[in-house]
Each structure stands twice: as C-alpha cells, then as structure tokens.
Subunit: 245 residues, 2 copies
Amino acid sequence: MQFTSEQHLDDGVIEREFTLGEIPGILWTPSSVSAPTPLILISPPPLGLRKMHPRLAGRARHYATKYGWAAATIELPGSGDRPRWAAAEQARADLRRAMEAGEPVTDEIIDALVLPLVEKSVPEWRTALDALLSLPEIGGPVAYEGGVISIGVRLAVVEPRIAVAGFYAGSFIPAAILEEARQVTVPLRVLLQWDDEGNDRQAALDLFDAFGSKEKSLHANLGGHAGVPRSEMEDGARFFARHLK
Amino acid sequence: MQFTSEQHLDDGVIEREFTLGEIPGILWTPSSVSAPTPLILISPPPLGLRKMHPRLAGRARHYATKYGWAAATIELPGSGDRPRWAAAEQARADLRRAMEAGEPVTDEIIDALVLPLVEKSVPEWRTALDALLSLPEIGGPVAYEGGVISIGVRLAVVEPRIAVAGFYAGSFIPAAILEEARQVTVPLRVLLQWDDEGNDRQAALDLFDAFGSKEKSLHANLGGHAGVPRSEMEDGARFFARHLK
C-alpha cells in the first residue's frame, strides 16, 4: 500500500490517495485519533472513483467528523482508469441492447455482467482490508457499504472481519448471489429506491427475504436510482454506530 | 372534551385522561410550553387503551420530552370498555375460524372486519382533532401514527389538517382502502414487520406502492408483529420532526 497524495481538509479530515498494486484507492481519516478507529469500506458503483468522488468523500467525511471513523474505497475492476476486459464490455453492450429494445434482461446477461465483477473485486477488497487494518490508526470493527450489492453479499459471506453491512439494492442480482445471501448473517440494512429505472424491485425484495441475518432492515423510498433521501445517510451512520462497538 | 384526571409525571410531562362524549382518551403535553405545540395523534391497535397504555405513553413521553410535542389518543370503537357490535364480533369469529382452519382469509372477512371500524372511527378522530386543536397549548401541525393502517389511510384522505403520517402495516387491508391510498399525498413512513404472523406481506407492499405521496418511505424489519426495533421509534420521531415545522 503506497500513499501517493495527502490533503488536510478544512473539517479536520485527512484524505490520502493510495495504490495497492495497480488498484487506486482513497482513505479518509479523522486528523486526531486517540485510539485505533473503526473502518467503513465504501464500495463505489462502477462509474469510477473520479466521477463518484464528491459523493464518496461526502459520506466519508461525515463518518470521520461525526463519528471519528476511518473510511476507504478502491477503484472497481474495469472502472476509472483500470483496464476493461472484453467479456464485461460485451455484457454491457448486451444489456444496453436488451433495454433499448424493451426486451427482458435475461439471467445470462445478468450473470455475465455481475459475476465476473464479483469474482475479481472480492479478493481485492480483502487485500485492501489487510493493508488498511495494518495501519496503526485503524483498528476495526469493519463495516461495508456499497455499491454493487452482489459484491457486498459475497464479501459478507467470505470475509469474517465484516461486522455489519449497508447495501444499496440498485443493480441486477444473479441467481447464484440470491442463493449465497442465505449465508449472510451480519446485521444488515438495505436501501431500495422504489422506482429505480435500472433495477428489478421484486428481485430486490426476494434478495432481502433471502438474507440469513437475524437483524435486517429494508428502507424503501420513493424515487429513482439517484434519489436516495439525505436522511438515509444519517440513519445509515446511526445503524453502523449501533454495531461498531 | 372533559378532563377527568391529571398526572404530573417525573419527566415533566402532564398526562390527562379525558372523555369526548362517550369516547375515553389520553392527552400528553410537555409541562412548559412557550408556544402552541405540534400534535401527534397516536391511534392504538384495537386492544384497548388500558392494555396499550405503557407503549402509547412511552411514545408520547418521548415526543414531549425530546421534541416538545403534544400527543393524544382515543379508544377505538369496540375496544376497551366501549360497546362491541354484533357484526364486528361476527367478523372476528370468522377470522379466527379461518385462521385456525388454515383457510385463506377472504376479502369478505377482511371487509367486514375493517371497513366498519374505519367508518366509525374516522369521524371520531376528526372530532377529537377539533377538540384538541381548540386547546390553547396545542397549535399544530398535526401528525398521525397508527395502529390500524386502514383508519390512517381514510383519515389522511379526508382530513386536510393531517400534515404527515406514520403507518404500521400490521393489519388486514380491504381492497377499497388500497384504492383510497392513491389519494393520499402527505409525506409518509410505513413500518412493516417482514414476518408478521397476522399480516399479508404482499398486501402491505401493494399498499405502499399505491400511496400517491411524493415522499414515502417503507421500513421493513425482520421479525414478527410485536418485534419492531426500538431504533424505529426514534427514526419515526425524526421523520415527523422534518415535517412538523
């Protein structure tokens, strides 16, 4: 883990860019830390860290200033400046074609779109977690929130250091992930935009139903993909706070 | 409106029992009020005020001490010491029989059980609202939370003084109420217990979908009818606070 830049922001938060091998990432920490802090992994949607920076930084700085937590994110495979791969480009083209033609998005398209992303990114998140937890100012416990919900499901199943998770049901869900969800046991909070254009509401409800967690809460709000109410950010932070002790 | 008792509680809240004609009710107000306060109408489930008192008082005192709001409730028709009527007893017996036999609860049973209760109680809530808003210490705006969700739907449609509502999707929903829900336009927060024994999950989701409100939020939590997490009470209060200005 190599830090490549460091900025001291006016709210007392330190924002550091880093690379982890070829993966770029960003770490936000409160400037004054007396004990090792909990860590929030913020998994971005696959639009690239640069494009998502204002939103990611907004959340991270809220966590740091209000709760004293560290937060970090890494670029997803195939996003930002990271190399694309042919199968992913093909799957994206197939999805676009199906949606423009008003045809159903088949299981094949969903699997081809999401599963390779899960396969590639989950080990990267685990490597990032190793590196982040080796920093003296970060101690855990660890919360995960994100982005591509299938990545979060797999990570919550295979990574015992994830203590709590906040998911955003805003992307297609492969049948295999729906099955894996039964093995998720951490406390869970799921956001669903009721009128999300690019999302199948029933699939999201089925996924919520499938989660094995004893504590799970679904917050559905009226509106499209980008319309999550601001109040949900603060509510999500309070949910993490109850479990990051 | 006749006050029949007055208690000064140790948290500085005044609890007064009253009667409104033959309807008993309870009013909680903060003891020191500098300006007329907002009002929360808390509609109980049909178990009777006496049985529900601890839970209702807990919520009302939270609103009064933390937010300075007044809160009031009245006994539902056919609950507590209020006279039963034959058709309601019959509908309850039919429901019990169907559920014990593992048979589907038909639309006829649901209509017979819920619609007369809506017909009777909505005018009573409006009368109570007249009386409560005539008190000098209460000024509005008014929030409604409850209980039997169908009563809330009708009240939110016909009563323009309701500014915001919090519903609990924990009872059967007649088809006519599902239709009326399209006319509800106030900001709305709906609680759903995902594994509610006496509740049809899909009917609750259909109702949420039907609401005409531009701002609506569904909070579904794992667990049975009585298992609403404590955090939802505080979250509900914050939701009201955003709209009671």
